[in-house]
Amino acid sequence: MTPTDQRLQAVFREFFDDDSLQLRDGMTFSDIEGWDSLAHMNLINALEAEFGLKFSVRELMRMKSVGTIRQVLTAKASSHV
């Protein structure tokens, strides 16, 4: 697990208040209890705060699953190095 994955998992666990949550790329709204559109919006805000980033609209439209969130974060983090 990369440092980005670890931080992503930590944000999800804290946000959904579930210390046993194990993220998988295929996970979507229906796989995590409480992950609806309102929660998603707040999750995005939490990710931006944790990683010090601002997602573009195009990126936001892609971020529909753990996998796509991870891809966007990884791409964005590498472009900031």
């Binding site: 559109s37 309102l38 609209v57």
Partner: protein, 208 residues
């Protein structure tokens, strides 16, 4: 369905939570309508999506009403809007109306029902309003897709336009978040507060 049957059906759907919320609203009510606008040149940068249709009466007829809603009343309202020259963007999924949003090409004033105030717009901009996603189609980002599509389409199709306005309730969290993320410019807010029978209405413009 008769009026009595409709009333009984409504009473059956009442929960204690709803009763408490309505009782609280009798004592105190507050609302803020936030006004945003997008310049045409910025709206033209959004993408159109071919899943959406324009002024499709067939799509509107595919609406499945929620509990307590009258399909006939809605269709009558929508027919009247189309006959008055207003426009609608729609998307259907599996034969059902999933989302819609309305647009008026030129509007110089409108009444904001949430805050009981009239808003004047001397430049007569285009206005997008009354966006609705059917509950079973939520969490699929149809709202931001339709918002971008309608802004782009309106900007491209209404000649001589400078701005497209929209109004969002401050506590309508998800639409407000998307409108702000899309870069719409906040202009002003209209407020309404009622404590028992005492009403206050005011407006605050963006300063600085």
């Amino acid at each position: 369905m008769s009026d009595a049957a409709r009333l009984i059906a409504r009473l059956r759907r009442l929960s204690w939570k709803k009763v408490r919320r309505r009782a609280r609203r009798i004592v105190y009510h507050f609302a803020e309508d936030r006004i945003y606008r997008v310049p045409v040149e910025e709206a033209l940068e959004f993408e159109e999506a071919r899943e959406f249709r324009f002024d499709s009466w067939d799509d509107l007829q595919a609406y499945v009403p929620g509990p307590g809603e009258s399909r006939e009343a809605l269709l009558t309202l929508w027919r009247g809007r189309l006959d008055a020259g207003e426009h609608v963007y729609t998307r259907t999924e599996g034969g059902r109306l999933a989302i819609y949003g309305w647009m008026i090409e030129r509007q110089s004033s409108c009444f904001l029902t949430d805050v009981h105030q009239r808003m004047e717009m001397p430049e007569a901009p285009a206005v997008t309003y009354d966006f609705f996603t059917a509950p079973e189609f939520r969490n699929r980002d149809f709202y931001p897709q339709l918002l971008m599509h309608s802004l782009r389409h309106t900007a491209a199709s209404v000649p001589g336009l400078r701005w497209i306005y929209m109004c969002v309730r401050a506590d309508d969290t998800v639409p407000r978040w998307w409108v702000e993320r899309l870069g719409a410019h906040y202009c002003e807010s209209y407020f309404y507060r009622r404590v028992l029978w005492r009403e206050e209405k005011w407006r605050a413009e963006l300063t600085a």
